[in-house]
């Protein structure tokens, strides 16, 4: 080829690449399809995540309920400081608490543990409360003993507007139903809740611990003020108040943001798995495509093209294809936004809109490019094997993947780059990295498995059945699709089985195991003098009830060994909650039966005047606490130093009374306290909530079964969604297998023709295909089950701290469904090669 300058060379290659692509796109349809599905999923994840985050950021003030939030937790706080803020901004006070809300005047009244938010007339500072009927919100502020309830509460207790309800010993009239409130960030978004006027607090008897009281002051800056300056001013006002927590719009909906990040991390990992599985198929299809163009490559070489020009020609075709697919995938992902919008606006009152992001587009393109280059290097490098001299002999050897040191190194570097990009851009890098390690290990093991299957079948001649022999021959032949089938199906099946086993274990634990060991009810808000009354009330209804009653006190960890506890732990740590806000602690004489001591000694009775702390061993490990370390606790405004003297193994799964911190009773019994109780009834139907409320009106009752039902329902939806999403890897795997069969189409057709000539019936050919499939699929199931069992056991036991059990039914259902779909697909794909047209083949047409 005459030496051209770089630009002319590029123009020439581009011209030929575009021409070739235009003519051959049908031959590489499986590359287009798998690449599109994978990139579409990735695009959808990025688009939804971005749109959601944009919505959360745009509405940060609405979600927080103000430009700033002053949170005093269980205390009213320093009103002098709050009043200072009122001097230069608008402040809305709100108090949230939990108590029982019951129906009245029915034959059988019902009660529900409800979160009530009392608000003043300034509420909401941003956004709107959507309710009906018109004017109900203003009536609630003006008329005492009126309340607005949310739709869920209205449905659960079947309460209608103007119906009376009882909260503690007070009767309220339900004057409206709320559809949504704007400040979902700090308020409950799910479950049962209500809004009441600020005067409500005065007529109810609320206690600090049992009512889960929370005092908040939302602040709205004046329009003309500089927000930064006002923020600094407020910070300055509260700088010496250790009890207050100031929150800013950027901290709003942090829980929701964490869920979005975790979910998008999971989805990104599923999508990258799909892309990598697609990569296996792309490499295979591309090799076949190059093989089909064997002669044209030889002709191009003969007329003077350099090998590198021809390789660039193919790379350029892939690049053009990738660009087009990325554009289509990214644009198509916008179509999903209205669906997401519908669910989010119904559930959270959030609205999402498609948002174009050039960075996201480039990220998706880059991911696609990396995968394409990684998997096409050994394929396109095979072009070097084509010789122009082949034209003289009219002999064209089938090309093989070409691995050189350089290409292997480049592939490893690019693959590492891909893994690192995904790992470090995810919420929890360790989990992502762990996932990739597991994924590549599985990939290698499935590849080795395919080789072991081929080797074993070649080695052992154990059958005289002709169909079995033909099947084995198909599996073991040089260019069989066994490795591709085993790898793509194996990876997809492993992921699906693992998630299903995690899901069923989770559901079983929540739906069956936990209720078996968990109490039926939690009771909070039992005052010091009400302990006997409470016990009597329970035993009157069920003398055989099993009651556990413990004192509780609220305390916050102010310092650990004299320094800020935040220096001991990062906010994303599982144990951060211990210092996140005030926690409830208790005290007991003896070591709790289900809380064995792992390290240290039980209470030192010789030091009754010193606070001794027994700490949850996991918390201790996460905080790196040693025996003898000192915790400074804030208990009712007093700072008390306590020494950590032992670590307990706390198992929170049984939902019984478990505390991260236990105190020595000799010291703690003098602290003002309430009681927390659990009860397990011989016959739960004997217990009447309404009757109990008549005995103790301020008592709050949490029925475990109700919460478990709600959690199970949510988890069910999550697991169905997760399983469906992960099934995309199976879909990609099936496309890869189908394309691999189609790539072999000519060979298959030829083989079936010879079989036909020799006297094989169609039935024989179909049977041998079925046998072939079963041999491969059974080995895949075996290894996939092993990985799924190991993986799900690790996740369930180590990440979720739950009991793991093998679920044979799920395994059978999933494997048989995937197997059946795969078999049908293989059969349908093979169908057109089953009945080859003899004449054209015999005539070499």
């Amino acid at each position: 080829m005459e030496k051209l300058n770089k630009y002319s060379e590029f123009t020439l290659i581009f011209k030929y690449a575009s021409k070739d692509l235009g003519r051959n796109y049908k031959k590489i349809s499986s590359i287009i399809l798998t690449l599109f599905i994978s990139l579409f999923i990735l695009s959808a994840i990025f688009t939804i995540e971005d749109s959601l985050k944009k919505e959360l950021n745009d509405n940060a003030k609405v979600l927080l309920g103000g430009d700033l939030e002053i949170d005093y937790n269980r205390n009213q706080g320093n009103l002098n400081l709050v009043n200072k803020v009122k001097e230069f901004s608008t402040v809305s006070q709100m108090i949230e608490f939990s108590t029982m809300l019951s129906t009245v005047g029915r034959t059988k009244n019902k009660s529900l543990f409800t979160r009530i938010k009392t608000v003043d007339e300034k509420y909401p500072l941003y956004g709107k409360v959507i309710y009906e009927p018109k004017g109900a919100f203003d009536r609630m502020q003006e008329e005492p003993n009126t309340i607005l309830i949310n739709e869920s509460l209205s449905k659960t207790l079947k309460i209608k507007i103007n119906e009376k309800v009882k909260v503690q010993d007070q009767i309220f009239t339900v004057i409206g139903i709320i559809k949504s409130v704007p400040d979902v960030s700090g308020f409950v978004a799910f479950g049962d809740w209500a809004l009441a006027g600020k005067q409500t607090l005065e007529i109810l008897k609320l206690n600090g611990i049992g009512s889960f009281l929370n005092y908040e002051y939302k602040v709205k800056f004046n329009l003309n003020d500089d927000p930064d300056k006002i923020e600094k001013r407020i910070k300055n006002i509260f700088k010496n108040d250790e009890k207050v927590k100031l929150r800013y719009p950027e901290n709003s909906a942090s829980g929701l943001k964490r869920i979005i990040n975790s979910f998008s991390q999971f989805l990104s990992l599923v999508s990258i798995s799909a892309i990598l599985i697609a990569g296996i198929g792309i490499a295979n299809t591309l090799l076949s495509f190059i093989n089909q163009n064997n002669m044209s490559i030889a002709v191009r070489k003969a007329v003077g093209f350099y090998s590198v020009n021809i390789k660039n020609l193919y790379y350029l075709q892939l690049l053009i294809l990738l660009f087009i697919i990325t554009v289509i995938s990214y644009v198509s992902s916008f179509l999903i936004i209205p669906v997401v919008d519908k669910y989010l606006s119904d559930g959270l009152g959030l609205n999402v809109y498609p948002k174009f992001s050039l960075i996201n587009f480039i990220k998706i393109f880059l991911v696609g490019l990396l995968v394409l280059i990684i998997f096409s290097i050994p394929t396109i490098s095979s072009i070097d094997q084509v010789k122009a001299s082949n034209l003289f002999r009219n002999v064209f050897q089938n090309l093989q993947f070409y691995y050189s040191k350089k290409s292997i190194t480049l592939s490893i570097i690019l693959l590492s780059a891909l893994v690192l990009i995904f790992t470090f851009s995810s919420e929890k890098a360790t989990y992502s990295f762990g996932y990739f390690v597991a994924f590549f290990n599985c990939l290698i093991i499935f590849f080795l498995l395919s080789k072991i299957v081929i080797y074993s079948l070649k080695k052992f001649n154990f059958s005289s059945n002709i169909l079995l022999k033909v099947s084995i021959k198909n599996i073991t032949q040089t260019k069989s699709i066994t490795p591709i089938t085993v790898m793509s199906l194996g990876l997809g099946l492993t992921l699906l089985l693992t998630l299903a086993l995690v899901g069923t274990n989770f559901k079983r634990e929540i739906a069956k195991s936990i209720p078996d060991i968990a109490p039926d009810y939690f009771f909070v808000g039992i005052q010091k003098g009400e302990k006997e009354k409470f016990e009597k009330g329970i035993y009157n209804m069920d003398p055989d009830a099993n009651i556990e009653i413990v004192p509780i006190v609220s305390s916050g960890i102010v310092k650990i060994n004299g320094v800020n506890p935040n220096t001991y732990i990062k906010p994303d740590n599982d144990s951060y909650w211990v210092i996140g806000s005030e926690r409830r602690s208790s005290w007991v004489e003896n070591v709790p039966k289900d809380n064995p001591i792992l390290q240290g000694e039980w209470w030192d009775l010789s030091k009754p005047n010193e606070l001794q702390i027994s700490l949850d061993a996991k918390v201790a490990s996460d905080f790196k606490i040693k025996l003898g370390d000192i915790f400074t606790l804030n208990i009712y405004g007093r700072e008390i130093d306590g020494k950590v003297i032992n670590f307990r193994e706390v198992d929170y799964r049984d939902l019984s009374i478990n505390f991260a911190m236990l105190f020595n009773p000799q010291f703690a019994k003098n602290i003002p306290h309430e009681y927390l109780a659990t009860a397990k009834f011989n016959d739960p139907d004997k217990f009447d909530e309404t009757l109990m409320l008549e005995v103790l009106p301020s008592l709050s009752m949490i029925k475990i079964a109700d919460y478990l039902t709600k959690v199970t329902a949510v988890l069910n939806k999550v697991f169905i969604a997760v399983t469906l999403i992960s099934a995309v890897t199976i879909v990609i795997g099936l496309i890869v297998i189908t394309s691999a069969i189609m790539v072999q189409g000519k060979v298959k057709e030829y083989q079936n023709l010879v079989f036909k000539i020799l006297g094989f019936s169609k039935k024989d050919i179909v049977y041998s295909s079925i046998i072939e499939f079963f041999i491969i699929f059974m080995s895949v199931i075996l290894i996939a089950t092993f990985f799924a069992v190991t993986g799900s056991k690790f996740i369930v036991e180590n990440i979720f701290d739950l009991l793991w059990k093998f679920d044979f039914k799920v395994l059978v259902y999933l494997c048989s469904s995937v197997g059946l779909v795969t078999l049908v697909l293989i059969m349908v794909t093979n169908l057109k090669y089953l009945n080859p047209k003899v004449y054209p083949l015999i005539r070499n047409q």
Binding site: K469, Q751, L758, Y839, I842, R843
Partner: protein, 221 residues
């Protein structure tokens, strides 16, 4: 000699677009047991089509084919496969060996299909008989054209068929190999008593048969 094969008023037509192409017209033919017949004619005269119809690889548009007193034109595809498996051996110009099977496996496959007790042993004997002892474990791509055709013949005759159909068996071979192949084929039918229908352009090969049929424009002349 008793009749092995009878073709009655066989017609074969193909539809290409809107055109109807008549390949074979009113063919009547009788082949007796142990008979050797050469089919000659110009390219496109319908010789290969005739072989395919006899082998049950295609169905005639009309007419009847009776093989061993059984009308095979009315049989299902699987029933025809059964007849072919047991009684008809076919040899092609392009050999049609299975590329990923060794020479031994290609031959043994037919025997296994017919449930022979020691298929590999029988296949080895056959290949040895055709001078391919040293090629048992070679793939077709590792064999010369002559060797490939010998394997194809071994495969076709492995289950001692009543009828051997050979479509230009020496068409892809040099003179030396052609001679070897024709000798093997005719020697075999003589020894084993099979009937042979051989399509060829080679007059010398055609002359080896007892009967010669000339086909022109789809008709026997």
């Amino acid at each position: 000699m008793t009749t092995l094969l009878k073709l009655k008023k066989i017609n074969l037509k193909y539809q290409t677009g809107k055109k109807n192409i008549s390949v074979l017209n009113n063919i009547d033919l009788i082949i007796k047991k142990k008979e050797t017949v050469s089919v000659v004619g110009e390219s496109g005269s319908g010789k290969t089509s005739l072989i395919m119809l006899i082998g049950g690889l295609e169905r005639p548009t009309s007419g009847k084919i009776i093989f061993k007193e059984k009308e095979i034109t009315s049989l299902t595809e699987d029933e025809i496969s059964e007849v072919r498996k047991k009684s008809i051996g076919i040899i092609f110009q392009s050999f049609y060996l299975i590329p990923n099977y060794t020479a031994l496996e290609n031959v043994a496959l037919t025997l296994e299909l017919n449930k022979f007790k020691n298929p590999k042993k029988e296949a080895k004997i056959l290949l040895d008989r055709f001078g391919l002892k040293h090629r048992f474990n070679n793939l077709p791509s590792q064999l010369s054209g002559g060797e490939q055709q010998r394997v194809a013949i071994a495969r076709a005759i492995a289950m001692k068929p009543d009828l051997i159909l050979a479509d230009e068996p020496t068409g892809n071979l040099d003179t030396e190999n052609s001679l070897m192949i024709s000798d093997i084929l005719f020697k075999y039918v003589k020894e084993e008593g099979s009937s042979l229908i051989i399509v060829t352009h080679d007059p010398k090969l055609a002359d080896k048969s007892k009967r010669k049929i000339n086909i022109k424009d789809g008709k026997i002349k």
